[in-house]
């Protein structure tokens, strides 16, 4: 296939990757993963620990290169060293620990880090930084020290740091894992807004099942392979398979299925509180 045909979005083709523990011992992290993500999509990747989801994410940022197969990012093959920086600019990455990805002692300095690395003119950096901080709702904190921010705020600053590079895609590697519930919600709403308003492709890796409900498409990984894919309803509808790989259907989903199996006339595939409320109200008024 030519680069032009690949220009749609992000693509992994039969990616195999092994981590080297020592010279003789290698651990297989990805066993031939195939994935296609189109531009503007919101994809959530689920999977138990060690399923290879973080490893796959790092391939889309050219932080890791496949042992076998290819990864294409907006038509660029990650194996081409000439394209590494353009790939990292267009597919930015946010990590789990908010403390370990902020570089500078002042919020705006940190957001400026990416554009500075790209050699953007100082005047333009100011504009980019102000715009990025505004998109994540952190503009009033621009002179603050990251140390004094909450976890959710730190992650939003980290997201702004990526946005300042004007990416087409943001890859988030368990950005909510170390946050409290309100911080998680803050981050999830920010991501969702970026996806809807700015059309940024989002690949969100998480082990919180309820976060999968934000997605257009859910991907489930297990033992280095993609085992399930589809809309949240399609994936969690196969609740037996979901629990086989060690995951759980979100609580509301479990509730509606149990109501359904005990004879209540509702759709067992309901996953959100709002839907369940509507359905129950419909039932009540229907009687």
């Amino acid at each position: 296939m030519t680069a032009v045909e690949k220009a749609r979005g992000l693509e992994a083709e039969g990616v195999v990757f092994r981590y080297e523990v020592d010279e003789s011992d290698k651990v297989l992290a990805l066993a031939g993963a195939d994935l296609e993500i189109s531009q503007g999509e919101f994809v959530v990747v689920l999977g138990p620990n060690g399923s290879g989801k973080s490893t796959l994410a790092k391939h889309f940022n050219a932080l890791l290169l496949p042992d076998e197969g290819d990864v294409w990012v907006f038509g660029m093959n990650t194996k081409d060293p000439e394209l590494t920086w353009e790939i990292r600019r267009s597919a930015g990455m946010v990590f789990q620990n908010p403390d370990n990805q902020l570089v500078a002692t002042v919020v705006e300095e940190d957001v400026a880090f990416g554009p500075e690395n790209l050699g953007v003119e100082p005047g333009d950096i100011r504009t980019l930084v102000a715009g990025a901080l505004k998109s994540v709702g952190m503009e009033e904190f621009h002179r603050h020290s990251p140390h004094h921010l909450s976890g959710g705020q730190k992650q939003r600053v980290a997201i702004a740091g990526i946005l300042a590079m004007k990416p087409k895609c943001i890859i988030l590697d368990e950005p909510t894992a170390m946050l409290d519930p309100s911080g998680r919600e803050e981050v999830m709403k920010t991501i969702k807004r970026l996806n809807e308003e700015m059309g940024i492709t989002v690949i969100h890796i998480t082990h919180f099942m309820d976060e999968a409900l934000y997605a257009d498409r859910v991907i489930v990984m297990d033992k280095g392979e993609i085992v399930m894919a589809g809309t949240p309803k399609e994936v969690f509808g196969q609740w037996k398979r979901v629990s086989q790989v060690g995951l759980e259907v979100p609580p509301v989903g479990q509730l509606s299925r149990r109501l359904w199996s005990s004879g209540v006339n509702i759709d067992p595939g309901i996953l959100t509180v709002d839907e369940l409320v509507d359905e129950l109200c419909r039932l009540k008024s229907g009687i």
Binding site: G92, Q101, F113, E116, G119, V129, P146
Partner: protein
């Protein structure tokens, strides 16, 4: 017990003439001042450097209280120096304690050195008190840049300082957390002699180092993901620019230096050679 006040809390944020100077000018003035302080070898020189320091402090609008507090750690060294000079300099005795003979040249020499230390500490602490850590690193990077041709890693030094400053509070917090966790399990950090106390720090330092290395690893990956590839081709959002007041300040420093050199030539050392 562990406080972050040593390095980070030093900056004293008020608006003043000295605060508004370019960090490069301030670093340069500090270096010149330090050198010239050691060129001056009599009390006339101190009149000049002292006046300059007092002027700088007044213009910086930093309360003297803050600066005097900064002198506290050197009180011991200062008294020790004065005593050593007082009793060990040969000359005419002013009083005697046992075999120790206090001399007049010793007293003068001791006071002279103590005064030099005081001025040195006050003036150099003015640099960190009036310059925020970011300005300081920016200024340092810029000053070192010309030397990068002869192999001075200017950008790397500045980046290291930035990261160190960024992670000092994080690591202090972590040390505190580990300490509390160890104390909850019966560790004792506060009793025993110096050796025992040092030994009790091992279970604190080991996890702290392990976690610092893990952080470093993650930070490196995050930096790489944000296209960091060293100082080459990198721009800076903050631009430093020298203005008229920086040139005035530098000019004044040069005038002050010239005066000190003059006092050295004109009056000679505080204790003339050959008198003792």
């Amino acid at each position: 017990m562990i406080s972050g006040g040593i390095l980070v809390g030093q900056y004293y944020p008020v608006r003043s003439f000295v605060h508004s100077l370019d960090p490069r000018a301030k670093i340069l003035i500090s270096i010149i001042f330090m050198a010239i302080l050691f060129v001056g070898n009599n009390f006339y020189a101190f009149a000049v450097t002292g006046t300059f320091a007092v002027l700088a402090v007044t213009l910086s609008r930093i309360p003297w209280k803050v600066l005097i507090r900064g002198l506290r750690p050197i009180v011991f060294i200062m008294s020790f120096t004065i005593l050593l000079h007082l009793f060990l300099t040969p000359g005419h005795a002013i009083f005697q304690i046992g075999p120790l003979k206090a001399t007049l040249p010793g007293l003068i020499q001791g006071l002279f050195i103590a005064l030099r230390l005081i001025i040195l500490i006050i003036f150099t602490s003015l640099l960190t008190l009036t310059t925020s850590p970011i300005e300081l690193t920016d200024g340092l990077e810029d000053i070192l840049k010309p030397f990068s041709r002869i192999g001075v890693p200017a950008h790397e030094i500045a980046m290291m300082m930035t990261i160190a400053l960024r992670f000092i509070p994080t690591l202090l917090e972590e040390a505190d957390r580990i300490m509390k966790a160890q104390m909850a399990r019966g560790a004792d950090f506060e009793s025993g002699n110096m050796f025992q106390r040092a030994k009790s720090l091992v279970p604190l330092l080991v996890p702290l180092f392990v976690s610092a290395f893990r952080r470093a690893d993650e930070l490196a990956m995050a930096m790489e993901a944000r296209c960091y590839r060293g100082g080459e081709g990198r721009t800076r959002m903050r631009q430093l620019s020298l203005s008229a007041k920086d040139y005035y300040a530098l000019g004044l420093t040069i005038v002050m230096s010239a005066l000190v050199v003059y006092t050295r030539v004109r009056f000679g050392p505080v204790i003339p050679r050959g008198t003792v």
